[in-house]
Every structure is written in C-alpha cells, then in structure tokens.
Symmetry: D2
Subunit: 134 residues, 4 copies
C-alpha cells in the first residue's frame, strides 16, 4: 500500500458565504496529497510532466460529513490500495484532529502530451511495486 499525508491550513479564500470551505476545494487538497505521495515514492509529478507524462483525473468523488472552517488545521491522507496498472485509484480522508470530515476517491491514467492513454513510466511502476512489497 502507498500512502502519504499533508497538513493543510484553511485559507480565507477557500471559504464561501455559508462560512465553511467550499466543497470543490477539497479536490485541490486531494491533489496536494497526491503530489506528496509521488514525492515520497521518489517519483515527483513535476519530473513526470517533464518526461511527457500527464496524470489527469478520470473520475472523482467526495462525501462531506462535517464542514471545515477558516483557519482549521487539517490532515489530508491519500492511499493507493492496489498496485497501479493502467488505472490508478486513490482514496482520501480529511480530518481535523481525530474527526473525519470528508472522504473521497479519484482515478487517474497516465496520458501523453497528445492525450493518448499510455503505460505508466517504468520508473513509476518499479517504485510502486517496491512500495507494495515493503
């Protein structure tokens, strides 16, 4: 299993007039956690893009249990439970302390600059397999 976690402090801009975090912003936070996961794997997203790989979102979803507020310190955890082959499935949990606020999922595929689905880079596959063996 691959997992990583990032600490987020809620920005004023991320609130709306309900006084809570606007729902779409959680997907931006999910991404921050994904970027961190790739970093920890030794496979930074920036390097992947430089090599011509993009990793767009194919599907995404979220379930909102409790709101997050301005200035909250949150933890966003991402997990990849299965060895990624063509489709990469990631799941997320957003917590304030021990309280679970939001869960989510995203699916991704490696895509070339031209927009074609491609096999993940060798380097990524090897690092992913290694992580699952540990």
């Amino acid at each position: 299993m691959l997992s990583a976690s990032v600490d987020i402090r809620v920005r004023y801009k991320e609130t709306d007039q309900m006084g809570v975090v606007y729902h779409a912003n959680y997907f931006t936070w999910f991404e921050i956690a994904r970027i961190e996961l790739l970093d920890q794997m030794g496979c930074p997203y920036l390097d992947l893009e430089k090599k011509g790989y993009l990793l767009p979102v194919l599907t995404c979803s979220a379930s909102f249990q409790s709101p997050a507020f301005f200035d909250d310190r949150l933890q966003v955890k991402v997990e990849i439970a299965k060895i990624p082959l063509v489709r990469i499935q990631a799941s997320y949990e957003v917590r304030r302390g021990s309280e679970l606020l939001v869960t989510g999922q995203t699916e991704h595929a490696f895509v070339s600059r031209a927009g074609r689905v491609v096999r993940p880079p060798e380097n990524f596959l090897n690092l992913a397999k290694k992580s699952f063996e540990d």
Copy 2:
C-alpha cells in the same frame, strides 16, 4: 422531472498547465446550473438563504470523458429525476456542441443556519411537485 441548462464560456483562470480546464472547476459549473434550476422553479437560492435555509453539498462526483479548453462555449445541463424529499439528487452533463465532455452527480439536503438537516421549505416542495406533475 426538473431540468435546466446554462451556457458557460471557459475562463482563462479555469485552465491549468495541462492546457485544459482544471477538474474541480466543473463542480462550480454544476452549481451555476443548480442556481438556474432553482430560478426557473420560482425558488431562487438567494431567497432560500434569506429565509434561513442552506443547501450544502453532501456528496459529489464527476466523470471526465474529454477535456474542455480555454474559451470553449459549453452547455451545462442539470436534472433532478425524482421528487426531492429529504435528499435532493441532481445529475449533470457538460457538452461542447453535441460532444459530451463530463457527467456528474451531487446530493444535497436543506440545512438550517445552525447546521441541522431540516424539511425542505413548503414553497420549494410545492413548486417541485408541480413541476413533476407537468
């Protein structure tokens, strides 16, 4: 069935460095379509909030078939297929001309300023029922 549709022109800010619309922005567009739907029902969201009702997103999801680009003219269609009781389920389609780019779903409940789930306002229920009878 309740449905409405809005025309969107993609803003530069809505793109990212992949050269396409950033995925989370579609949820903002879904919302614009919902607001339009409530307008057409005769039940503007602004009025609902003034009467103390909020309509937060409980769950949301999207599936991305093809990217949208800067300056694209898109149509965002929202549909509520069942008479809304406590949970309101809406589905969405984003099209560029006849091409379907993205589908999505959101679920909502009416909530009081204090954050408690409440029965939808009488006015909303009556207008919704009327729409389904037509």
Copy 3:
C-alpha cells in the same frame, strides 16, 4: 479608444465568509472583459496564443468601494485609452446598475512562448490603430 463590457452574475464560489465577493476574483472578471475586448477588435486571445503570443499581466491594481454579493448581476467595463505599443494599459469599472463598486488597472506586454517581450503582432496593431481612428 478601445472599450468593451461584459455581464457577470456572481457565482457562489466567488463569495467568502464575509458574505461578499473575495477581492482577488475581480481580477478574473477584468480578464473576461479583456478577452471580450480582443474579440470585438477581431483579434481573439485564443488566436494570439495559437500564433505564439502570450499577454501576461505585468502589474495590476484594484480599489474596492462597495462589495458585490452572491447572485448580483454586474457589468465589467474595460477601456484602453492609449494606442498600445509595447505596454498595454487597461482600466476597468465594475458596476451594479448605476452603482460603481470597483475600479482597476492592468498592464500587459506581448511575450513569446520563451518569455521574451516582443512587438505586438502586426494584426493587433493595425486593428488597434483603426479603432483609435474611428
């Protein structure tokens, strides 16, 4: 003089927990007006980018007199008062009906994909001069 104007309806996402439009969002609206101005000149921004020209923001400023609210219908007007040579200076007014809410300015230069400042495209200069002669 070059000028154009666009109608904006305030999105829920554009509000913050003060219950008003978050200040940085006005710069996005300024851009929508700029894009419209280029369209009306016969020189769409999308075409400029396709020809390898970018038009980044060099400086920007805004002065906020009165807040805008969710669902407000606003008019955003842009004006270019001098024939654009290397630097293009645009000024903006955001109104709700007759009420002036925000004024702003931006400065731009044409830049190549490599990031070098370049002479504006011939086409753009000719169309701009023609507009100032009218």
Copy 4:
C-alpha cells in the same frame, strides 16, 4: 515595524495554461502572510472576526517581475511599515530563494459586521504599538 513570512508550495490548481501561476493567486498568498502576521502579533484574524471585526481589502496592487511555476517553494513576506491607525498598509514580497518574483501592496480598514469603518480593536492597537517600540 511589523513583519512576517510564510512558505508556500505552488499548487497545480494555481497554474494556468501559460504554465505559470495565475496572477490573481498572489493576492491569496498575500493574505496567508497577513494571517500569519496577525498570529505572530498575538491577534489572530479568526478572533478578530469572532469579536465582530472584519478587515476587508480596500485597495490592492501587484507587480510581476518573474513567473512562479508549479511546485515552486516560495517565500511570501509581509511588512507593515507604519503604526496602523484607521488605514492599515501592508507591502509584500514573493521570492523563490533569493530571486524576487512579485511585489505588492494592500490597504485595509477595520469594519463592523454592518459594514461601517470602525476604530481598530484596543487589543490590536496595543499589540501593534508594542511591536513598533521593540
């Protein structure tokens, strides 16, 4: 003088299709630095709002020297050079390492929930004066 500084890592969402950070996002970063400054003063913005004070932006400006890119680690520094009385003037610098990318200014006033300009809270004034004496 009052000053504070925060570390920012550029989010993918903050880029646009030029491949750089979208200009309006710097104002969000300026705000993160302001929030940090108030924290360090012992006067968190969250507490100010709870006591009924808002601190909206009256004017803002920025000058962009060099672009920031996805995944950049940046430092955003804010400075208040004069003891704040009715108007609070803050200036900003965004740096990548030693390279200065962007400078900016914002002006603010304390405002009541009803939108009237009010004298800054006693607590804030005392802490500000103390900082300037140090």
